[in-house]
């Protein structure tokens, strides 16, 4: 079912000012999957996504997308077909909803295609259509998160990377967001990698998951396996990271 | 007998050797003249650079003309760009590093050097108008006195029937403030009034609103107390405001780069230097001597005269107190600026005259 490996992170290490955030970490993403990256705060989950996008200082290892090494310059990656929704609902606050979506399609030169994609994105998130002319800074937290994800979809990416999409959102909204992610994966066939601390929500929709602790992968497997084991409990409460 | 002869010959020979050596050493040994070091702090670059350069040239020319004196005269020239911070550091360098015996100053430097001259006990000759700079002990000055300049200015205004004066002046330089205060004093017993007094800081470029304020008062003449570049900018902006009233000033017009702005206008300045000085300066440096250069020339001659009178031996220069005493004894001295007199409080006064810009050049008016 998932045999083509789209994205491979091989053995990377990340150091911030001498502090080691990741050591020898490898993850892979196969076509059509939803993969979860989990772990306690500071485990290094976000660093994995950031390093794919050239936003973290990577020393050692390689990152391969569709068989080719990913360029280190951040702005060259969107064109490959990977979209990144960073942590914190980072919309362009001074632009309105429609303009934000337009910016998402910055790489698209054909105006008709851009328009179509924006309409499709608004189909997916009807609340955005209702508020298309509203300045995005005035939207609620949940609406902003939808906008951030929608913006990523405008390029119709093959791979969607999300960093803590549920952060700071009310439980009801969190549920909605994860429903949307599942729909994106099911209907649009977008491959997804999600960093999440909300274990229940993510394991609900993920096919596979990795668990990180203190910069290393400590567990990895199909999501149902995690629901049955106590590894998560041990990691989050005790810490199982290799010393 | 032979022994005695031998001794006599030996002694005579020794004596002859010794006296030969003595005479030899006496004739070979040069008289070691002591060196009198004179420092100068003036703008050598920038808008006022021509002033310092003129002073430097005049000092060099004066020394050359002085020739072989009792002492060697050495100069140390420091550029302060008319910036008081640089004046202060220049003074410190001259006093502590070069260990000068005298300093010649102009602009902001005089005020700064006055206390240092006392502290280090050297002779300070300022080309400055402020009355409180010379003290006759360490500090001397050589400039046409402000009272004299203003006196002639006011007299000329009265002669031409001027009653209302509009003033544009800077408060950033002491000299202009001193001039203005003496101007106000001088018009007290006349029917001349200041109808508008617009002040500004040096560095200002936009005088238009000050001009708008002055315009309705309708002066008979505008008195501009500031130098380049503000002088030209004020004049230009007054014209642009549609005001055709003439301008006048003290000293200012002859040092402008744009004399067309002041064509046909009279003003008051220190007397022209003597023909002799001007010719010699022009022959040596290729241009007319600028303002302050005759003063520097006179200062060297006055100083050297006083130093050589005060000093007894060429190998030891005299003390400051002795030099000061000799300076004050000078009551008639042929200088580039006329017959010079050193007052008891250290002021060397030179004459004043009315001039006009004609065909772009300053000419003296009949007085």
């Amino acid at each position: 079912m998932h045999d083509e490996t789209l994205l491979q992170v091989k053995n990377i290490s990340v150091h911030y000012n001498g502090v080691r955030a990741l050591k020898g970490v490898s993850v892979r993403l196969d076509r059509g999957e939803i993969v979860a990256l989990m772990g306690p705060n500071g485990a290094g989950k976000s660093s994995i996504l950031k390093s794919i996008f050239g936003l973290a200082p990577v020393s050692g290892g390689e990152i391969i997308f569709r068989g080719r090494p990913v360029p280190p310059a951040t702005h060259q990656i969107a064109a490959l077909g990977i979209a990144f929704i960073p942590q914190g609902r980072r919309v362009f606050r001074h632009l309105n909803v429609e303009e934000n979506l337009e910016m998402g399609g910055f790489m698209i030169h054909d105006k008709k295609i851009l328009k179509r994609r924006i309409e499709e994105a608004m189909d997916f998130f009807p609340v955005l259509r209702r508020k298309r002319k509203a300045k995005s800074g005035t939207l609620s937290g949940g609406e902003q998160q939808m906008l951030a994800i929608a913006r990523g979809l405008v390029t119709d990416p093959e791979v969607l990377l999300l960093d803590e999409p549920s952060l700071g959102l009310a439980p009801k909204i969190v549920k909605e967001v994860f429903q949307k992610i599942r729909q994106i994966n099911a209907r649009r066939k977008t491959t997804v990698m999600v960093v999440e601390h909300n274990i229940k929500s993510i394991l609900d929709i993920a096919d596979r998951a990795y668990v990180l602790d203190k910069g290393k992968i400590v567990a990895h497997g199909e999501s149902f396996a995690f629901l049955e084991s106590d590894i998560l409990e041990r990691v989050f409460l005790g810490g199982v990271g290799a010393k | 007998m032979k022994k005695t002869a031998g001794i006599i010959i030996g002694v005579v020979a020794a004596l002859m050797l010794v006296s030969a050596a003595y005479v030899h050493s006496m004739s070979k040994k040069p008289v070691v003249k002591d060196t009198f070091r004179i420092g100068m702090i003036a703008p050598l670059t920038g808008d006022a650079g021509f002033v310092g350069v003129g002073m430097k040239n005049a000092l060099l020319m004066a020394r050359e003309q002085w020739g072989d004196g009792k002492y060697n005269y050495e100069f140390v020239f420091e550029d302060d760009q008319l910036d008081p911070k640089l004046s202060a550091s220049a003074a410190q360098k001259l006093l502590n590093v070069d260990k000068v015996d005298a300093i010649v100053t102009v602009g902001h430097a005089p005020r700064i050097t006055v206390p240092l001259a006392r502290q280090y006990d050297i002779i300070h000759f300022a080309i400055a108008v402020q009355k409180d700079i010379p003290d006759g002990v360490n500090n001397f000055s050589h400039w046409a006195p402000s009272v004299k300049l203003n006196g002639l200015l006011i007299k000329e205004m009265q002669k031409r029937g001027i009653k209302k004066v509009g003033v544009f002046r800077t408060t950033s330089l002491e000299a202009w403030v001193a001039y203005y205060n003496d101007f106000l004093e001088g018009i007290k017993n006349t029917d001349i009034r200041v109808v508008t007094d617009q002040t500004f800081k040096k560095g200002e470029k936009d005088f238009r609103s000050l001009i708008a304020r002055a315009k309705p008062t309708n002066p008979d003449i505008y008195l501009i107390f500031v130098e380049t570049p503000e002088l030209e900018i004020v004049a230009k902006q007054i014209r642009e405001a549609g005001i055709n009233t003439p301008f006048t000033t003290l000293e200012g017009f002859e040092v402008t780069e744009q004399p067309e702005l002041f064509e046909g206008y009279w003003y008051v300045s220190p007397v022209e230097p003597s023909e002799e000085f001007s010719k010699a300066y022009e022959a040596k440096f290729g241009k007319r001597p600028p303002v302050c250069s005759p003063n520097a020339y006179d200062i060297f001659n006055l100083l050297a005269t006083a130093v050589e009178r005060a000093g007894s031996s060429p190998s030891k220069k005299p003390a400051t107190a002795q030099i000061a005493r000799e300076l004050k004894k000078i009551k008639s001295f042929p200088g580039a600026l006329g017959d010079l007199l050193v007052s008891d409080n250290g002021m060397v006064m030179s004459g004043v005259q009315v001039k006009m810009i004609k065909n772009g050049k300053p000419i003296a008016l009949e007085h």
């Binding site: 996008f53 936003l55 310059a73 951040t74 702005h75 060259q76 990656i77 969107a78 064109a79 990144f84 960073p86 980072r90 362009f92 606050r93 001074h94 632009l95 303009e99 337009e102 910016m103 998402g104 910055f106 790489m107 913006r151 390029t155 | 670059t45 920038g46 808008d47 650079g49 760009q81 408060t171 617009q198 002040t199 500004f200 800081k201 560095g203 200002e204 470029k205 936009d206 005088f207 238009r208 609103s209 000050l210 708008a212 304020r213 315009k215 309705p216 380049t228 570049p229 030209e232 900018i233 230009k236 014209r239 642009e240 405001a241 549609g242 780069e257 744009q258 067309e260 702005l261």
Partner: protein
């Protein structure tokens, strides 16, 4: 009243000049959140380039002005590429960037002084008394009309660029969130380089126009920068309409201020205005 009309005109003239400097400064600040002190020296570079070509070398007016604007723009872009970009990459703190820009300012200013001497220079051959026009009961000169028209055109031009072109939208995105702009595929380093070019070219144009009005001096940059910064902050930093608003406000306050107070207080009034805004409304008149 005669004098009031003239003060209003003077306020607009001064305001236009300050706006000219503030426009470029705000454009760069908006995109990079960087307080570029060197901005002032690009005005001097513009003025001195025209001085060199037009006055010293006899090149005709329009090419000289083009050269001045271009050279100022290029100087700005180079300073970004060679100094500010590497510092940004190293995540240099704003203090380091500020010091670097101050160092650049001083160095370039010294070079100009060495090449052209410290003295005040005029850009026209004879000390040109400008053609003047009567407006209501006040007077305005030709060069001031040119300055006002230039500022209006530039403001409209910048508005169109920022809102109607793809480049402009990229600039706006970068102003909001530079990292996300990169994530969606904008080559932010290149765009910022062009922003520096445009902003510095505008400063150069300002220096040229001011040079024709009053004159140029190697040290002209600092005074202009300070007024430009005050105009920016008072109007609303990072906002082009803020530049216009702040520039006009500063111009008016200065000129009406000296109506009642003596001329020496002009600078004090300008900085007083700045301090009032910093204390009570730091986002400026049009700030968010």
């Amino acid at each position: 009243m005669d004098i009031l009309t003239q003060l209003v005109i003077n306020g607009i003239i001064a305001g236009a000049i300050y706006t000219l400097i503030a426009l470029g400064f705000n454009l760069i600040y908006g995109a990079t959140k960087f307080f570029n002190i060197a901005h002032g020296v690009f005005a001097a570079i513009g003025g001195y380039t025209v001085f060199f070509f037009f006055k010293l070398s006899g090149v005709s007016l329009v090419p000289s002005i083009l050269a001045g604007v271009l050279l100022a723009g290029i100087a700005g872009m180079l300073s970004d590429r060679l100094i500010f970009l590497p510092l940004r990459r190293k995540r240099g703190s704003s203090v380091i960037m500020l010091v670097a820009s101050l160092g650049l300012f001083t160095a370039l200013q010294s070079v100009i002084a060495i090449m052209f001497s410290n003295r005040f220079q005029t850009l026209t051959d004879i000390f040109n008394i400008q053609k003047t026009y009567q407006i209501f009961s006040g007077v305005i000169t030709q060069i001031h009309i040119v300055i006002i028209i230039t500022v209006i055109s530039l403001t409209i031009g910048l508005f169109l660029m920022l809102n109607r072109t793809k480049f402009g939208k990229a600039v706006k995105a970068i102003s909001d969130d530079e990292e996300v702009a990169r994530i969606i595929g904008i080559d932010t380093d290149r765009v910022i380089g062009y922003v520096f070019f445009i902003g510095s070219a505008i400063a150069g144009l300002g220096g040229i126009l001011i040079g024709f009005d009053t004159g140029i001096m190697p040290t002209m940059g600092m005074g202009l920068l300070l007024k430009g910064v005050i105009a920016s902050i008072v109007g609303g930093v990072g906002n082009i309409y803020g530049s216009v608003c702040g520039g006009l406000l500063l111009g008016f306050v200065e000129n009406f201020g000296v109506w009642k107070i003596s001329g020496e207080w002009k600078d004090a009034i300008a900085f007083g205005l700045l301090i009032i805004f910093l204390l009570f409304r730091p986002q400026g008149v049009l700030g968010k």
